[in-house]
Amino acid sequence: MTSVLELRDLVKHFPIMGSKNEVHAVTGVSFTIGPGETLGLVGESGSGKTTVGRCVLRLIEPTSGTILFRGEDVTHIPQDDFRQYRPKMQMVFQDPGDSLNPRQLAASIIEEPLLLWHKCPDRADRRRRVEELAETVKMTYGMLEQYPHQMSGGEQQRVGIAKAIATDPDLLILDEPTSSLDPSAHAEIIELLIKLQEERNYSYLFISHDLMTVRHISHRVAIMYLSQLVEVGTTTQIFKEPQHPYSRSLLSAVLYPDPTARRPRSYRLQGEIPSPIHLPRGCYLASRCPVAEPRCLDSVPPLIEIGEGHKVACFRVSTLDELGEYKYAVDLETRIT
């Protein structure tokens, strides 16, 4: 079964005007997403996760590496040729208020992809399709005649999703789709996305820093720190047995809505993130890592498979202590592959 998306050693550097230096946004990221699968791409600000998404969609040009969409290499084909792939890979943006044209009615926004890609030449047909899409994302027909600013954040995001699925894509890239929403709207949108995936077999690249949501929606998880992948695995592997110190510190920072869940207080990172312009010679986390050793400062640890698709980039992986505190008292559901 061909994967829907495969990245091999994707690299993106941004040149800085007036300087020979570059901002290293993405350094050597590789992963695969199969049909109907969700990969959660996790990282904090500056990790490069959003840049990965934008490279896949060729909204920015990758510096090097390979992007395979359904087995075809789309990394460097000219924009005009890439355009034919766009109906098959769409994006849902973070701030729905800003990502919708304020002067377009919701109906027109949802209709636009149909027009662009000649999906329904007949106007009445198009209208019906727009209404179908609205129903799918649980919008009322009345909302179709509104402008974005007249809707709540959750409703706006529904419009964004309807627009993205109008051309029945294979891959949806979701860039923090719910971080600006209220908790109740957030939950509804995530439930909608899961339902859509189950019904239509969409693949998702779910980019987020919200670990609880990632855990809920993803089959596999990839964690990025400062432009690199530090750990990849199934959701169960990452959340129950995180190996990388950064993964552990991320997980220990999650605030579960349950006062009885104890938070482990070890694996705290000290200091501040190094600059993405002058990356350290060794492991990028070494300056802040509580368990760093001298060899961590000398060379970058490679991403090694430690078992069944679980990969970690850390020299200390086999010698880290028992997990102990990482087993939370409360066992929340995860999505089993």
Binding site: L57, L59, R83, R86, P87, Q90, M91, F93, Q94, D95, D98, S99, L100, N101, P102, R103, Q104, L105, S108, E112, P113, L116, W117, E145, Y147, H149, Q150, G160, K163
Partner: protein
Amino acid sequence: MDGVKRLSGTLGRDVRYLVGFFRARPLSVVGLVLVLIFVSLMVFGRSLAPYDPEKASSDFLFPPGPKHWMGTDRAGLDVFSRILVAPQVDLTIGLSAAALAVLIGTPLGVISGYMHNWYGSTIARVFDVLQCLPPFVVAMCLVAFAGQSVSNVIIVIALLNSPLFVRLVRSKVHSVQERKFVEAAACLGNSKWRIMFRHLLPNSLEPVLIQFPVNAGWAILLTSGLSFVGAGVRPPTPEWGAMIAVGAPLLVTGQWWVAMFPGIAVGLCVLGLALSANALEILLDPTRR
């Protein structure tokens, strides 16, 4: 466009909205009324004028009185009649020149703001240079070259005014294109041209609408200067700017009415246009409903 579609589909609701809109904004009603007055003067001015505005008489420099409500000028021409007929020339020139400047400048502004390649910057530079030229001198030369007529004056003034709109739109486009919906449009597969004219342009019109009436006023004043040196409208065609130019030196000698009344007329006209443009800008902005 969506605005029109919406209006026809929800007429009752929109009429009620308009009524509420004007009730809440009395100044925009003032603007609308002023514009209507001047526009009707364009049509009816000549028939309402008590005297022939172009026929000289022997009543030189009469102050405002029962025979001549706004007095007369040096040639005995009745100021009031001339003011009534002037909109025919002034509004035509002012509005047409400003509108033409908008039509030229706006699309070029969008292109030069969005296309970050050589022709985007070339457009910007060309218009920057145009804007540096002394408008009055250039206008004189161009009219002298092309011939003195109303349409030539309009074209010349429009050309001189368009760099302003190019610059306004260009800078607005610079900021609008940073917004996520533009990236979303690209992601959807919109071509560059569709992005420019379907997404960027409608969201960049705000400064244009606000600048338009001011520009029309400036066009009227530029015409007056041109008329004064004989490159604009030929005397004795009534034209506010020319009347002000002729009456200005008379202010010192005490015959204030020759320049004052046309001055007030220009002011009121531009005010009406400005208030209306303001209201129009709010009306056309869906986010303010």
